[in-house]
């Protein structure tokens, strides 16, 4: 009952203040990637509540118009058009998969509206296909791969096998890994490469093929269902007994938690050890999130929360909703996040949000990250000269 | 002149011989009946002549031209028409549209993408329908017509191609007996008038003996007799394998 009354109140309240609210358009593939995006949604909803409770932006509340983008670029572009032309949003944020992110980014440039790509990891969105309207929050494929390189080099393993989901994210993670490893450790060999289709790994056969390649170490960018199947078959067939594995994203609660007592120990991963981070910024976020949702945050929660704060901070700094001013505000925008301070680099619009690098372990039948450190994104980006060559604008 | 000549025609299916070294010919304007018990190979024979099936051995000449290897549509264009045991028409079209399709096909005008399909109200279409007594049903969809009427439409369809030889597989099957005689009379009249050779199969012996100029008899895939209706009726072997049963039924 009280819930209904509350939402009714909120609804009426929303109606009365809507004249002065600032609309932010949000679109994401909620139905296609729910495991990541439901926590993500809770994250940005928390941010919106906090921002509005604190008085909004220069006295104006923010209102998020959120849409499901259907998980494909064609529908996403139509949804974005709707947000732009029917809802008159001040800026766009969201998207998950690389192709959707790129399509919306491309539309943002055409329709001249600012777009904060929250989750897409593709390097292209800020480099080859970067444009002046698009900014990206998450540490990219390249950055997260680079974060794993120091540990990989320390092991001094020569024979590496690679397994990745066969689409842009996996392909570019693999390409970056090979390039960075070869630079850091001349003489490294890549002895086997497996590229199963996304979500359809034939794990038994892939694991056997990797065993046949006799690698000393494996670099994997599998996640979600593929990762679960890979871990189970690898454990059963003894692939991991004498082989170290580096797995991009493997420590993100979204993908780590389902592994439960099968979590492979000793793997190096990027991820989010949410219950061990003790910084005040994170503690504040953690407490607020748990209080609001009665659940612990996933990485998606942090991304959603931070993306919405990025939008709000840009609006505040710009002093209005003018696109040109928003772009000026986002360029070089400095702000605090649960992961510490970040900057949206003026040159390539990439934020310096970092990630946690550590090893997997089992604790009480659950997977956790141990020996972790925070890797600041700023330290894992290519130089301005290199970026300038990649970007065409 | 022979319209059609068949020499040593053979066909078997999975080791079972359906037609075995069959020889016969049809002269221009002649009505030739092919009779035989069920499974004697009549329909197979038709399908071989019409080009739906490929013979294992033997030759088929149409006006002294060897035609085996040609698909049915090519044989149709040479002047070899056909009706089926179960009347085959274009169910989604009206009677006149059916005939018009066949007529436009003859004129090689069916490939046109953007012109209107006007053939259905043409003079020739009407005349063809009138010839088979279906003028009053011209604008009714075939799906709504009675079976006997469909047989007539199919006959008109075949005539629209201006054939010089018509293969008619049981032209009166599924019709009431009064209707049968009428249709066969119609076929015979038109064939004689237009000098069309007709090769037909038929179970109704009355129809056969009344209209056929000549009769050939097939049993177990082999040709066992041929001649005028009177000769065939008198043939001892025919009586044994075929007419004997027939007589017993009657």
């Amino acid at each position: 009952m009280s819930k209904i009354a509350l939402s009714l109140l909120l609804f009426i309240a929303a109606g009365t203040v809507s004249a002065q609210t600032i609309k932010i358009g949000e679109l994401n593939s909620y139905k296609v990637f729910p495991a990541f995006l439901e926590p993500y949604k809770k994250g940005w909803e928390l941010a919106v509540e906090e921002i509005n409770r604190a008085g909004g932006i220069n006295g104006r509340k923010i209102e998020v118009v959120s849409r499901d983008d259907g998980g494909n670029p064609g529908d996403a572009v139509r949804v974005a058009e709707e947000l732009i032309s029917r809802e008159n949003v001040a800026l766009l944020t969201g998207t998950f998969a690389s192709n959707v992110g790129l399509a919306v980014s491309n539309l943002a440039a055409q329709r001249k509206i600012a777009f904060i790509a929250a989750e897409p990891l593709t390097d292209k969105i800020v480099w080859e296909n970067g444009n002046r309207y698009t900014f990206r929050l998450r540490a990219s494929t390249y950055m997260q791969t680079a974060m794993l390189i120091p540990e990989a080099v320390k092991l001094k393993k020569v024979r590496w096998a690679i397994v990745y989901p066969n689409y842009e994210y996996g392909q570019s993670a693999t390409a970056s890994f090979k390039k960075l490893m070869t630079q850091a450790q001349p003489g490294v060999q890549f002895v086997g490469e497996q590229a199963p289709p996304l979500g359809k790994i034939d794990a038994g056969a892939v694991v056997q093929a990797l065993i046949d390649a006799k690698p000393e170490a494996i670099f994997s960018s599998l996640f979600a269902t593929d990762l679960q199947k890979f871990v189970r078959e690898g454990n059963l067939r003894g692939l991991f007994k004498n082989t170290v594995v580096f797995n991009l994203l493997g420590g993100e609660p979204e993908y780590l938690d389902p592994l439960k007592d099968e979590t492979p120990e000793g793997w190096w991963v990027t991820g989010y050890p949410w219950n061990e981070i003790k910084t005040p910024a994170h503690q504040k976020f953690l407490d607020a999130y748990r209080k609001r949702w009665n659940d612990y945050p996933r990485l998606g929660s942090v991304v959603g929360y931070t993306a919405m704060y990025s939008a709000a901070n840009a609006l505040r700094k710009a002093g209005g909703t003018d696109t040109e001013k928003l772009i000026a505000a986002l360029k070089g925008l400095e702000m605090d996040t649960p992961f510490g301070p970040i900057v949206y680099r003026a040159l390539d619009h990439q934020s310096t949000m970092g990630a946690y690098v550590g090893q997997l372990a089992r604790k009480g039948g659950k997977g956790v990250m141990v020996n972790w450190r925070f890797a600041d994104g700023a330290n894992f980006l290519p130089s301005f000269e290199e970026v300038r060559v990649l970007r065409k604008d | 002149m022979n319209m059609l000549a068949v020499k040593g025609l053979s066909k078997s299916f999975g080791g079972v011989r359906a037609v075995e070294r069959v020889n016969f010919s049809v002269a221009a304007g002649e009505l030739l009946a092919m009779i035989g018990p069920n499974g004697a190979g009549k329909t197979t024979c038709f399908n071989l002549i019409n080009g739906q099936l490929r013979p294992d051995a033997g030759e088929i000449y149409f006006e002294d031209r060897k035609i085996q290897g040609l698909p049915p549509r090519e044989r149709c264009r040479l002047g070899l028409g056909r009706t089926f045991q179960v009347a085959a028409t274009f169910g989604s079209m009206t009677a006149s549209e059916n005939v018009a399709v066949a007529r436009l096909s003859r004129e090689r005008k069916l490939g046109s993408l953007f012109t209107s399909f006007r053939g259905s109200s043409g003079k020739e279409t009407r005349a063809l329908l009138a010839q088979v007594g279906m003028e009053s049903q011209a604008d009714r969809p075939c799906a709504e017509l009675a079976y006997g009427d469909l047989k007539r439409i199919e006959f008109a369809l075949a005539l629209a191609a201006r054939p010089r030889l018509l293969l008619m597989d049981e032209p009166t099957a599924g019709m009431a007996s009064a209707e049968r005689g009428e249709l066969m009379r119609l076929v015979a009249d038109i064939a004689r008038r237009e000098n069309i050779a007709v090769l037909f199969t038929e179970h109704d012996m009355d129809v056969v003996f009344r209209h056929a100029d000549r009769v050939i008899v097939l049993a177990d895939g082999e040709l066992i007799a041929q001649g005028t209706p009177a000769e065939v009726r008198a043939d001892a072997q025919v009586r044994r394998v075929y007419l004997g049963e027939e007589a017993a039924h009657a």
């Binding site: 139905k31 495991a35 439901e38 849409r67 259907g70 494909n72 670029p73 064609g74 139509r78 709707e82 032309s85 029917r86 192709n99 790129l102 399509a103 491309n106 539309l107 296909n129 066969n166 689409y167 842009e168 392909q171 497996q194 590229a195 289709p197 979500g199 034939d202 038994g204 056969a205 892939v206 056997q208 093929a209 065993i211 046949d212 979600a224 269902t225 679960q228 199947k229 189970r232 059963l236 067939r237 389902p258 439960k260 | 019409n50 739906q52 698909p71 549509r73 085959a88 028409t89 989604s92 079209m93 399709v101 066949a102 436009l104 069916l110 490939g111 993408l113 953007f114 799906a143 629209a160």
Partner: protein, 604 residues
């Protein structure tokens, strides 16, 4: 590969084949008897997985597997009784639409019941470890699966050969009307077969949980695999399904073993295409019994006066719309117009042509890609790219169509699907040319067309002209030849019509028109990615055509508009928009089995 790894990969293939066989056998049985292409079969498999995981936590793994299978069997029977039984007499392929609606409903049911996250099941007690085979470790459970596949095959063989019910099933598979004449109670036979098919799907799913987490995306991936297996094996043939499952699973295992893992994207479709070209009815299938006369399609009426007026008014309203409305309405209508042309092109071959295509998106997508490549790579002006791109699609349709018109019915439809998947994987994998999985961005119209009203007018003009051309063709001499070929191929051929050439030409024309729609789509979105020619797009096209009504002229256009609007409106306003769409489709199927377009199709 060493000999030990060859052996282990072979065993991997065997284990993979078992579960694939079970789901495919169910699909094959259902098709054989009821002639329903059950699109929801993958969903039943998915349901089996979820139920098994959920039950395993409560009653343990070994009790959960049979319980889940039986539960899915019951659900299948209920679906048959409540939905499919009502529409067996409806136009062919309407059942496909109904089962597609079931797919949507089951997907959202699973989302509602078990949440969005993948659910990994427990390992099977007693089979948690590995045994040593040829120096490698091989999971015990996989050995069990290897045995279970043939056991199920043997069980089905006995049921079909030795029981009275099985004999009836076989009789119905071979000749449905004959079985009806023998006094078989078709209703319960159909329900029974559907239940058994569903049970097999549920069993296949339940047995898979130790190897694979239950996830919401499994339904579509399983259904496409199962279709492929059934078609390769021969529709209705259970041993064929087994053989085909083995072939596919082994081919995949060895692709991976030999280091060509990328090929697993497409290998099954390549195999299917090859098999169908060489053996048109599958490995062990038989040529289907031809439909009896009298079951021909209904008359294809000329557009009624009412329809002509409606269309004229709609066209006028669309032309005037930008005066009163702008912004998003135009964006949505642009999408609707493009899909209307796409649906009309599919209808052109499905309706008058009688050829089913499960892969029509290939030509849509190739048109879009060609436009993108001409603009981005060749630097053609947009107008020229738009004019030329459809010919790429038309050319592809010419090549693929040559093979497809040599088959008929579901086999031909599956070959179109195979070609579409091959085209899709080429686009997906050929990074340098197509941009790979990301696709291409920056495919925008020329400046004078870039405003929304301008592009809308262009789309309206092109799509309306395209649709009018297609409709005129239906009533042209060529259109009559096409319908003649559909109504009675034998009669058409005996009347001098080249049936295959006519169908081939129609296929190419439809591909060309779909390519026009695709090129317009690319420029309206500014980007193009592989989804444009994916299975989902092909299915959308089918749904549009069938919603509108195959045997109506304008139906597909209304179907496209309705479906696009439904997707847009439902996705925005309803949490479970898939289920909502499913319910609307089901309601339409049951109330308006001849499609929305039939409302306007007054009898002459």
């Amino acid at each position: 590969m060493s000999s030990s790894s060859v052996l282990i990969q072979f065993l991997n293939g065997l284990a993979g084949a078992s579960s694939l066989f079970m789901v495919a056998a169910g699909l094959s049985l259902i098709f054989g008897v009821t002639r329903v292409v059950n699109f929801a079969h993958g969903s039943l498999y998915m349901l089996g997985m979820y139920l098994a995981v959920w039950l395993a936590e409560r009653v343990g793994f070994w009790a959960a597997v049979p319980l889940a299978a039986v539960a899915v069997g019951v659900i299948g029977a209920l679906a048959e009784i409540s939905v499919l039984r009502r529409i067996y007499k409806a136009p062919e392929l309407l059942q496909l639409l109904a089962t597609f609606a079931l797919l949507l409903l089951i997907k959202d049911f699973a989302l509602w019941a078990w949440g969005p996250e993948d659910m990994l099941g427990p390992r099977a007690p007693g089979f948690t470890g590995a045994v040593e085979i040829a120096g490698g470790a091989f999971p015990q459970y996989d050995l069990l699966l290897i045995i279970l596949g043939p056991v199920v095959l043997g069980f089905l063989y006995l049921v079909l050969k030795k029981t009275r019910w099985g004999i009836l099933v076989r009789a119905a598979t071979e000749d449905r009307e004959m079985a009806g004449a023998l006094g078989v109670n078709q209703r319960w036979l159909f329900t029974g077969v559907f239940a058994l098919g569903a049970l097999l799907a549920g069993l296949g799913g339940a047995l898979q949980i130790p190897r694979e987490p239950a996830s919401l995306n499994i339904d579509l991936s399983v259904i496409s695999d199962a279709f492929v297996v059934v078609v390769i094996g021969g529709l209705g043939s259970i041993p064929g399904a087994f053989l085909a499952a083995l072939l596919i699973a082994e081919a995949k295992a060895f692709c991976i073993g030999l280091g060509y893992s990328q090929a697993t994207l497409v290998i099954e479709f390549v195999i299917m295409a090859a098999v169908l070209v060489v053996r048109p009815w599958g490995l062990l299938g038989r040529m289907p019994v031809l439909a009896r006369p009298g079951t021909a399609e209904p008359p294809f009426a000329r557009p009624s006066l009412r329809l002509r007026w409606t269309l004229a008014i709609v066209a006028a309203a669309l032309a005037l719309l930008p005066v009163v409305s702008g912004g998003y309405t135009l964006v949505l209508l642009t999408d609707m117009l493009i899909f209307a042309l796409f649906a009309a092109s599919l209808h052109f071959i499905m309706g008058p042509g009688g050829m089913y295509s499960f892969g029509h998106a290939a030509y849509f997508g190739l048109g879009a890609y060609a436009a993108g490549m001409l603009v981005l790579r060749e630097k053609f002006p947009m107008e020229l790219a738009l004019a030329l791109a459809p010919f790429a699609a038309g050319f592809a349709a010419l090549v693929f169509g040559w093979f497809c018109v040599r088959l008929s019915g579901v086999y031909s439809a599956m070959l179109t699907l195979a070609f579409a998947q091959i085209a899709w994987s080429a686009v997906f994998q050929w990074d340098a040319l197509t941009g790979g999985s990301n696709g291409m961005v920056g495919v925008w119209p020329a400046p004078w067309l870039s405003s929304k009203p301008a592009y809308y007018f262009l789309t309206l003009l092109v799509c309306a002209s395209g649709i009018i051309f297609l409709w005129r063709m239906i009533y042209s001499p060529f259109g009559h030849a096409l319908r003649a070929a559909r109504d009675s191929p034998l009669r058409a051929e005996a009347s001098g019509i080249d049936v295959r050439a006519t169908q081939w030409e129609a296929f190419a024309i439809a591909g060309l028109a779909a390519g026009v729609a695709g090129a317009l789509y690319a420029f309206s979105k500014g980007s193009i990615s592989p989804e444009a020619l994916g299975i989902q797009r092909s299915v959308d096209g089918l749904v549009m055509v069938m919603l509108g009504g195959i045997q109506t002229l304008s139906g597909p256009v209304w179907g496209a508009a309705l479906f696009t609007w439904l997707q847009d409106a439902a996705a925005r306003n309803v949490d479970y928009w898939r289920a909502a769409t499913g319910i609307v489709i089901l309601a339409l199927v049951l109330v308006l089995p001849r499609g929305v377009g039939s409302l306007l199709q007054a009898r002459q």
